[in-house]
Amino acid sequence: MWQVYFKELTELMRDKKTLIFVILLPIFIFPVIFGVMGLVLSSTTSKAMQEEHRYVIINAEQAPEFSDAMFYHKNFKQVKTDKTSEADLVAAIRNDEFDVAIIIPADFSAKRQVAEQVQWQIIYNQSSQFDFMYRYFTEMLASYNEQLQRETLNQLNVDPQKLAAIIKPVDVQKVDTADKRENIGEKFGAVIAYILVPLCLLGASYPAIDMGAGEKERGTLETLLICPISRISIVLGKFLTVLTTGLVGALITVGSFGIWGAIIGSFAGMAVVQEAMSAIAITELILIFSLLLPISAVFAALLLAISIYARTFKEAQNYISPLSILIFLPLVAAMMPGVELNSKTALVPVMNVALAIKELIKGTADYMMLALIFGSTLLLAAAAIGFCVHWFQQEKVLFR
């Protein structure tokens, strides 16, 4: 078995595709993702924040303070128009004559005098990803509203000091019992599992295909089968190699994620994330790895079984694609709001590992539950390896 294992590892280490998928891709995927996404996001956000919006106000004389505020805002530029109806203004915006139109009713001042609520209209294209224009508008409107409220209360001879209590009689202060780590774990724990678990599969896929279908295609399998070693030894040797590459890929990914996350996070001011990550003890990292071990074994055995069945490399790739989708489904389910680790979800393969990783990152893991997940996944792995060994002894599979 070890002869097969070391020989397979030697071959894999000399294979450029393996090096790319198992080592280089996990090392460089995160800086690329962080870097490119950060660059694109910051440049588009900055551009959107600085953008100047052309506007018109209908009946501006009804709210001169507000009109002045808009006029002096650096992100707004007033343009002239003779259009006044909603339909004409919509058409003008579509024709790119201006970006936004605010309609103040013609009787706004009169209604204000009798303390009647008035509805304004703002017309603009809301399909933009960054709606900074509306944010600036609501900020100005809030300030204008507060000014009007004070004026109204003055007219009613109400003490302006009591303004806050009148406008908002009850205020709530939230006291969060979750620490930073728990908060971040809840938000990002499932995402980390969503990255780690598929990488165990991805890292194992290419070697598995090469060791089954690849051997058939090259004609080396037949020679191997007539060596005086048991088929179990051959399968286990290959299985351990696939498992090793899957786990190495996942470990490199975790390392790369942590290191590059810290480097890039320090530039982007993500101190909270760094603080939370540093709160995760080495024991919990080992537990995460321990949970990845049996699920990677399940993947390795399934991939090898598929690969042994396939006649060619390409056929194996075709069979493995649906397996990837099957694995993503429980992972997506684990990310759904309200899905939590309990005695039922602890028995759903893949989903249980994802939920457990989330709990471990949050620091709220139930160790009995982890033992249940580890045990059940280990049983599944044993069954998958058993099937793989059985499969490897079938002539109809080996010589299709």
């Binding site: 002869q3 097969v4 020989k7 030697t10 071959e11 000399r14 294979d15 090259r218 004609g219 080396t220 399998l221 037949e222 020679t223 191997l224 089968l225 007539i226 060596c227 005086p228 070693i229 048991s230 002539e395 109809k396 010589f399």
Partner: protein
């Protein structure tokens, strides 16, 4: 000594498999199976070279795969130096040196590593393995490319490496499936010389081939397989006698066309 008696092997056909008109006429096809080998019997003694002949798809490779333990026969017996291949496959494998029709090398391993890997799988210790590899590499003129990866080798280099790998454990029986196909003249000569050296060492050698000149120069015995049956089995003189002037091509065709007056049908 190799003794094969009434060997048969069938492969199940797919449920949706529809037989063509030609296949319906072929005796090897039944409703749900393809009887690749129906009845093959022959012997090969120590120091004998047996040439396995037959048209493409006749059942030669399936027969050799059953001899090598890669496939399990449906019926019949295979004895290799008294070891029953069916009952003691692992013990039988220790005695077999098998070269498949594909060179079957690991591309990322060097010639040395390819041969050494199989030596280790046969349980050889490192010292004996090193000596044996050195001996084989000298015999097959392989020292120049010992450290070259199989991916970067010529066809001839690959075939020499495959042969060295097949015999690294000094097998008592050697089975070669078309060992000279696609090789240049120099490499063919090296391979043929190597088979002669095995013969001289008393090792029984079975090799399948389409080259009748190789049969003429090497073989003591000839077996012709046609449609899964050993249509002829006898010594080279008996085979030559099937044609008027000892022409092997004519002899071969006469067996296939059913006109052969085979001295011993089945076991020779």
């Amino acid at each position: 000594m190799i003794n094969i008696q009434e060997l048969a092997k069938a492969f199940a056909l797919g449920k949706n498999n529809k037989l063509s008109d030609t296949e319906k006429q072929d005796v090897r096809y039944s409703k749900d199976a393809f009887h690749s080998v129906r009845n093959v019997s022959f012997n090969c003694g120590s120091g004998e070279v047996l040439g396995l002949l037959g048209p493409n798809g006749a059942g030669k490779t399936t027969t050799l795969r059953m001899l090598s333990t890669a496939l399990k026969p449906d019926s019949g017996t295979v004895l290799l130096n008294g070891v029953d291949v069916l009952r003691q496959p692992v013990k039988a494998r220790q005695q077999i040196g098998f070269l498949s029709a594909d060179t079957g090398l690991y591309g990322k391993l060097t010639a040395y590593e390819n041969v050494a890997y199989f030596g280790r799988l046969h349980g050889m210790d490192e010292k004996a393995l090193k000596l044996r590899i050195d001996e084989l590499f000298s015999l097959l003129n392989m020292h120049d490319f010992a450290n070259r990866r199989a991916d970067n080798m010529s066809t001839g280099m690959k075939q020499k490496t495959a042969i060295a790998r097949a015999v690294v454990h000094s097998p008592k029986v050697v089975i070669l499936d078309e060992p000279t196909t696609g090789l240049d003249i120099m490499t063919v000569q090296t391979v043929l010389d190597f088979i002669k050296s095995l013969k001289a060492a008393g090792t029984p050698v079975i090799f399948s081939t389409h080259h009748l000149d190789e049969v003429a120069s090497l073989c003591d015995r000839v077996v012709v397989i046609d449609k899964g049956v050993s249509a002829f089995s006898g010594d080279i003189a008996q085979f030559k006698a099937l044609s008027a002037d000892g022409d092997l091509r004519e002899a071969f065709l006469s067996v296939l066309h059913g006109g052969a007056d085979t001295p011993q049908q089945g076991v020779a």
